[in-house]
Amino acid sequence: MSINDLPVLSALRTKMQWHQERQRVLSENVANSDTPNFKPHDLVEPQFDKTGASAGPTGALAMMRTSTSHIAAAGAGGQTFDPDHKEKFQTRPAGNSVNLEDQMLKASANQMDYAAVTSLYSKSLHLLKTAIGKA
């Protein structure tokens, strides 16, 4: 059994990947905060069942590439988590509905949650070290 099979660690890793991807989505929103007709995006938080496997709406099917010479699917390509469509809309006359304050709040929350997950991850690793008697 490798370390990757531990449910706690794999759940934490999924959560870390989610935070990474969310950070990318949020930075896209902020960068386009002055682009006409741009709508902000967000991701649905992953849900975990008792075994630590991710359950719920995560893991959208990705388009398969049959040849390496093909161009990757555009737009939401490489995205492994479901986009959250429940956005509050406050559209400005130019058709842009990015709320900069909202995005900043989300970015800082994302960062703090990520910090919590990474410290949980390192604590779990520490626990394993204790178990094998090296701590």
Partner: protein
């Protein structure tokens, strides 16, 4: 996920595109403010016309993300300010001088907006950097 850890690099690149676009916007705004009183070279000619920066969202294929870019710089078609000043070398036969259609109050407001967006992008970069730092801290413990 195919590209582990690459999302952070992508986040920072996207935010950098935002910084670049806002810096370009500042350049256009400063051009407008600097030329707020530039009259025509010839008598009766048209003075400086106000420029408007536009933004477009484009797909960066290497990043596979929507980055922002400064689009075409449009010109403002509104009417020029006209002042009666027969002694001015740029005055036409009736003694009227056309001044640029730049309103410095509007430019200042626009500049503040650009500054705010620039700061937001900077915030994203520093938040992403802190997250990368947290990842590296796992190794240290």
């Amino acid at each position: 996920m195919a590209d582990d850890g690459n999302d952070f690099v992508r986040s920072m690149s996207i935010a950098t595109s935002g910084l670049r676009a806002q810096a370009g916007r500042m350049r256009v705004i400063s051009e407008n403010i600097a030329n707020a009183d530039s009259t025509a070279q010839t008598a009766g000619g048209d003075p400086y016309r106000r420029k408007i920066p536009t933004f477009t969202s484009e797909l960066d294929r290497t990043l596979d993300a929507k980055v922002v870019a400064l689009g075409r710089v449009a010109t403002d078609p509104t009417a020029f300010r006209i002042k009666h000043d027969p002694g001015n070398p740029a005055a036409d036969a009736a003694g009227d001088v056309k001044y640029p259609n730049v309103n410095s109050l509007v430019e200042m407001t626009d500049m503040r907006d650009a500054q705010r967006s620039y700061e937001a992008n900077l915030n994203i970069i520093s938040a992403t950097r802190r997250m990368v730092q947290r990842t590296l801290d796992i190794l240290k413990s």
